[in-house]
Symmetry: C2
Subunit: 335 residues, 2 copies
């Protein structure tokens, strides 16, 4: 049986939504075993039908970060406990909706890295203006980078992209302040040269620099960048979406005429909103590790948690960790 | 008479829109003298009524950048000529809608810096979701920075903000990957400490870190950041706005019912669009210099050029360069 560890605490909507997400996943996947970290009584109340396919680790301590993400190591909180379980039970993946920094910290310290990967990175799935999705890497785990990180991440991301969206050779773009060759920092330029070189024998096409202005127009499948640029990009995208939605809502509620228009547009606007609401795009991966680590959004509901468990399942069923380890081993031997 | 130099070439809409913008400005400001760099015949054709308040420098060479912004120095193009005129005629300001990199290069090399300012920076005016505008600095001139740049720029930006929008003590925020004290690079953290210290005796309130998610909600008047983060922020904002507008348009054109709704909303949506269309927010300043340098958008029309000339005028009439030089001199003496 395949095993996933699930930290049920540390989310904004309380533990129940997480448990209900787990329930739905258990219903539909009889070959999966979940190791659940949270309030034992609450878990038992909801999941009594699945008692033979779950292990319950009672823990009621949420993560509390004061001065550094490393604070996660200082209490016996559910996230730390979940990582302990990941190793002890030899599970395949782990899900949490808690603080990103803590999750990155634990991923770095408690999970073995893939061969040849220097740093794990944060990889959310983003919508584009077309029907396609894109992967962003790194969205904030590594504020400063070495040039070679980007090509390592691009290799992992392209493997994930193929599995998730079926594209054999995804297109990788590098976020920069301009598309001209002379633009960007020395690290950016060096990273570009390495990406160009690596792409010759890798499972992705490298499209060079991309400006943020055009990054979500669907031309690019994977956007690679240091965690600083990636974080600013992601949060500006989210912020603009929120601002845009609010302003549009104000227009639609202006008077009875605009309310009539709102009524006509309701269904279409809902589709648009759902597409760009980052809570609906799935959990973010923390990649570069031998286990599959997924961070669900802090505001996840039952459906979002269920989807995040499915993301891990897709990775497990496609043997992503074995494939990646093999690839990097080969790359290592060629050197 | 006050003098402004105007590079009429190097814009996407051709020279005529620039000339018409100049014409409108001359009509309304009888105490201004414009030094116009462009096609002599075309200028004469439109501005024969103002011949005593203009100087025409015939130049038909547009800026062509191949491998570096420094290429702007290699031809006798109109932008280079305009900077030459700025110095020779002792004009107060200069306007161009040409390549940003070239403009930064010439600003750095040909214009004297304000006392105590190490690097000029790019400062566009941005809309927020409220009625207020905000200044972003640096939007891309300095990809890498020293920590002390941000406080130098904040001082200049706050002076401009007061002049442009009447606020006595504008609120400065520093763009970062999170608001927690421990987040960000060492440079970011050092810059924050300096900003905190400088704000005690400066004309601005320092509000600490701001995340991109909330940066345009009107809480912040001035957003300071290195040119890398600022550029990604600005371009993501522009790109997302364009993408959302396009998607909204598609919804509105879906069928006769949605077209009816579009008709009802037309006026409101136009207001909304104009507010966020970055072409309507005015030219971007290149600050840190003893002269006022403004970059009009590459797609500027008559009105945009006219507005950009007015921006320079506001700076001139408020003696911004003298005030800033005095301020920095005082700061220098206190050290």
């Amino acid at each position: 049986m395949k095993k996933i560890v699930f930290d049920l605490l540390n989310n904004d909507n309380g533990e129940e939504q997480a448990i209900l997400g787990a329930k739905r996943f258990l219903q539909e996947n009889s070959d999966y075993f979940l190791i659940l970290v949270g309030h034992e009584q609450l878990i038992k109340k909801h999941l009594s039908d699945y008692i033979d396919r779950i292990a319950i680790i009672n823990n009621e301590t949420i993560v509390h970060i004061e001065s550094s993400p490393r604070d996660v190591l200082r209490t016996q909180n559910s996230m730390l406990e979940a990582f302990k379980q990941l190793n002890e039970s030899n599970a395949d993946g782990i899900l949490s909706s808690g603080d990103s920094g803590s999750l990155i910290t634990l991923s770095s310290l408690k999970v073995k890295r893939l061969l040849g990967i220097e740093r794990p990175a944060f990889m959310p799935i983003l919508p584009t203006t077309t029907d396609k999705k894109m992967l962003l890497i790194d969205a904030g785990a590594n504020i400063e980078i070495k040039p070679e990180y980007l090509s390592q991440w691009a290799m992992i991301a392209s493997e994930w992209y193929s599995i998730l969206f079926g594209s054999k050779k995804p297109i990788v773009g590098q976020l920069n302040v301009g598309v001209e060759e002379y633009k960007g920092s020395e690290i950016t330029k060096n990273a570009k040269n390495i990406l160009k070189e690596v792409s010759k024998s890798a499972n992705f096409v490298f499209n060079g620099y991309v400006e943020a202005t055009n990054a979500i127009n669907g031309d690019i499948d994977i956007l690679v960048v240091d965690g600083y640029g990636g974080n600013v990009f992601l949060k500006t995208l989210e912020g603009t979406f929120i601002a845009f939605s609010k302003l549009l809502k104000n227009i639609l509620l202006k008077n009875w005429k605009t309310k009539l228009a709102a009524l006509i547009l309701k269904r279409h606007l809902r589709e648009f909103k759902q597409k760009f609401d980052y809570r609906n795009t799935g959990g973010a991966f923390i990649i570069g590790l031998e286990k599959i680590v997924v961070k669900a959004h802090g505001g996840s509901d039952e459906l979002a948690f269920y989807n995040a468990l499915n993301q891990i399942k897709i990775g497990i069923e496609n043997n992503i960790s074995t494939i990646l380890n093999k690839k990097f081993k080969e790359a290592d031997n060629e050197d």
